[in-house]
């Protein structure tokens, strides 16, 4: 069989590598800024785009979709070509994929800072971006599948299975979670409400972790760890079982994010059972990676790349052991809403994703520049800075989480709550300072890497098209041993792609059905009424400012929570919440029943300067709410969109909505006037106060 000559495209790999590094640094700096703002609230600058509530989504989205996202594409474009012995299917698609993805990231970062958000964690980008992401994802899929079809290697290595699984699952998750009805160019409302929205969102959130932060990186691990160790993976059979077990079980575990919430009991239990089962494939994968280094441990002592891989795999093991533990109800009762969650995800993000990415960058960039790494010593220094950074990041947060959770739950002998919420926050602020120190160490390591890689690149010569040769696939398939159904399908890549799509697709669709049936499990509460127009505007401000990043709206049925916040939350209270705003972290207290707890004047002063009402508060100031006006032209479309989504506003109500809104605003203005706090009724603060004063009051109403 004559060999065919072709070349590998290294240019796209290089672009994605640079984008990964650049956006990674920006995303991490945004995280550091947000972390510092918790210690020094002045760092919010009294300026809307730099407040915690807007920086935090920029940080999470940048790290997940820009740093890790570009890291995935860098690794996939490098390894897929070599595993298939074929150039990427289309240079044009590669280009569209690269620039399209960067445009989404840049636009996403800007609009998030502007306050355009759907208010659903890790899916905050607004609807035009959701459509763009879908299109670019299709481009990526076409390019990947095209390459697989043109391959010169009969068998698909396990890494490619992980890439295909990732592609199919992310496409499904993204589309299902992004059902929303646009209000304007950069504002939409989730098609789901309350419990249903929460279930879809965390089905998405959980699986985004599974299929964006885990499966593609496992694919990369199965390629780059053997490459760097120069030996095949410990057990290939094990890796196949790992793949199927992981995608099978992961997708069922989502509801564990909603334990003790108003979610039906059976869904919570199902989530827990599957979460525990997840330990098996996760640890199987970790051990498979670590055991690949058997007999090469002497090299691990010297080779920074292998060190990064070992710590990455260890962090993967830690995070995937911790995850199932956190899904146990009794552990979750302590961990939920605390910094434990933040520590947990950072073991994964800093350790697993970060360190695997750094290892790959150190391995890959010198190769495509046909040179060697500028300084191995610096790479080793980076390794230690990063490792210390992770330790200084997570340990204080675990400490903070335990401390705060225990303080929340303490009662005096007289049966009173022992600590005010603010006391528990002030106790852990020193831990936040240590966490920021850990983050600084980690980022200084990244900067050292950037210098090291820049010098490496300067010393090398870029090989844009790496020559390669391989024999084309034979027409007659050579079987190993007995012919088998699997080898039949392996020779037919189109059927294989369609088949795997059907398998994952059927599973995905069928698993979603209980989610859509949720409504039948929600007891209706007749006194729960739709929001007034002014409250709707206030709610949009609440979402825009990212209040949900620090405040939950979900009181769990625990003695301390009921004593602190009031009657526990009922599923029926959220049926008009498009999107739900349960939150996942209590840096501030729960707000589910804040309505009527304080006078309007308290909220006015508190939003102007939180420390005036709560000395020691770390909440940002919101001075612009007192200047900016509510956009009345949006009221009618808002009512129309909500009605389309199933909120029962009477037909024609949109015409009188603005009049109702003005009336309610006048009432609030009058009550503020009594306390000598003059404000125009058309200001945003008035709408926000209206919304906050409504929260949780409906079930107390008597009808």
């Amino acid at each position: 069989m004559p060999l065919e000559k072709f070349s590998y495209d290294n240019r796209t790999v290089k672009w994605f590598a640079y984008a990964c590094i650049g956006w990674g640094l920006i995303g991490m700096l945004a995280g550091l800024w947000a972390a510092l703002a918790l210690v020094l609230p002045d760092m919010n600058l009294g300026f809307a785009p730099t407040t915690f509530g807007r920086l935090r989504p920029v940080h999470t989205n940048a790290v997940i979709f820009a740093f890790v996202g570009n890291g995935i594409f860098m690794g996939v474009y490098y390894s897929l070509q070599r595993l298939c012995k074929a150039r990427m299917f289309s240079d044009m698609l590669s280009k569209i994929h690269f620039w399209g993805w960067q445009a989404i990231i840049a636009g996403g970062a800007i609009t998030l800072l502007m306050g355009c958000t759907t208010g659903k964690e890790y899916a905050e980008l607004e609807w035009p971006f959701d459509i763009a992401i879908t299109l670019i994802w299709l481009v990526f899929g076409a390019n990947m599948l095209g390459t697989i079809l043109r391959r010169r290697e009969a068998h698909l290595y396990v890494a490619i299975w992980f890439y295909i699984g990732t592609w199919v699952a992310i496409a499904m998750l993204h589309i299902v979670n992004s059902f929303e009805l646009p209000l304007s160019f950069l504002k939409s409302y989730s098609a789901y409400a309350g419990v249903q929205d929460a279930l879809v969102q965390w089905w998405y959130g959980h699986n985004a972790v599974a299929f964006f932060l885990t499966t593609p990186y496992l694919g990369l691990m199965y390629y780059f760890v053997p490459k760097a160790a120069n030996r095949p993976v410990y057990s290939y059979r094990w890796s196949i079982i790992h793949f199927w077990a992981l995608i099978f079980i992961y997708i069922w575990a989502g509801p564990h994010h909603l334990l003790y919430t108003a979610l039906p009991e059976w869904a919570q239990s199902l989530g827990t059972v599957f979460s525990i089962m997840l330990i098996a494939p996760s640890w199987g994968g970790m051990l498979n990676g670590l055991l690949t280094l058997r007999g090469a441990w002497d090299r691990v002592r010297e080779d920074a790349i292998l060190k990064f891989f070992v710590v990455a795999l260890t962090c993967y093991g830690m995070a995937t052991f911790e995850g199932p533990m956190l899904s146990l109800k009794n552990v979750n009762a302590i961990s939920h809403y605390t910094d434990w969650t933040i520590a947990h995800v950072h073991v994964g993000a800093l350790g697993w994703n970060g360190f695997l990415t750094f290892g790959i960058l150190y391995w890959l960039l010198p190769r495509i520049f046909s040179t060697t790494l500028y300084s191995k010593k610096w790479a080793n220094t980076h390794f230690w800075l990063g490792t210390l950074g992770i330790i200084f990041y997570v340990i204080p947060l675990y400490w903070a989480a335990f401390t705060q959770s225990m303080m929340w739950k303490q009662f005096t002998p007289e049966g009173q709550l022992k600590f005010q919420f603010l006391e528990t926050v002030n106790t852990i602020v020193p831990m936040y300072a240590l966490r920021a120190f850990g983050g600084t160490l980690y980022i200084s390591g990244v900067i050292l890497m950037i210098v090291n890689l820049t010098k490496t690149v300067r010393h090398g010569t870029f090989v844009a098209n790496e020559p390669a040769e391989a024999a084309p696939l034979p027409k007659v398939f050579v079987t190993h041993g007995k012919a088998h159904w699997h080898s039949w399908i392996e020779r037919r890549p189109i059927q294989l792609a369609v088949f795997s799509l059907i398998v994952v697709g059927i599973g995905g669709i069928l698993e979603l059905i209980p989610t859509f049936l949720i409504k039948s499990n929600i007891p209706t509460i007749t006194s729960v009424k739709p929001y007034t127009p002014l409250e709707l505007h206030g709610r949009d401000i609440y979402i825009r400012e990212g209040c949900y990043t620090c405040h939950s709206q979900m009181i769990r049925p625990f003695r301390d929570e009921v004593a602190r916040y009031g009657e526990y939350s009922k599923a029926g209270e959220f049926i008009y919440d498009h999107p739900f705003q349960w939150g996942s972290k209590r840096t501030g207290p729960d707000l589910a029943r804040i309505g009527g707890k304080y006078p309007d004047s308290w909220h006015y002063n508190h939003m102007m300067d939180p420390t005036s009402m709560s000395p020691g508060s770390i909440m940002p100031q919101y001075p612009w709410l007192f200047e900016d006006k509510v956009d009345k032209t949006l009221t009618a479309p808002m009512i129309n969109v909500m009605r389309k989504l199933g909120v029962p506003y009477a037909s024609g109500y949109e015409k009188q909505a603005n009049a109702d809104m003005e009336k309610q605003a006048q009432e609030i203005t009058a009550s503020l006037q009594k306390d000598k706090l003059p404000i125009q009724p058309d200001r945003e603060i008035v709408a926000l106060i209206a919304y906050l004063q409504r929260l949780g009051k409906d079930i107390k109403a008597t009808h």
Partner: protein, 54 residues
């Protein structure tokens, strides 16, 4: 826009999640069976693919 209603009208809709679990379990069992029984020569060949890309 209310997806729920379409699904609620399907009779015996609760069988779908069970069917899903069933399909996945069977598929997973088959995949595991294949992985354990697959020919050693082929497994060796595949596991070496990343290493002989030159």
């Amino acid at each position: 826009m209310k997806f729920i209603n379409y699904l609620e009208s399907i009779t015996g809709v609760s069988v779908y999640p069970l069917a899903s679990l069933f399909i996945f379990t069977i598929f997973f069992a088959l995949a595991t069976f294949w992985a354990l029984k697959a020919d050693k020569g082929m497994i060796d060949h595949i596991s070496h693919i990343p290493l002989d890309d030159k």
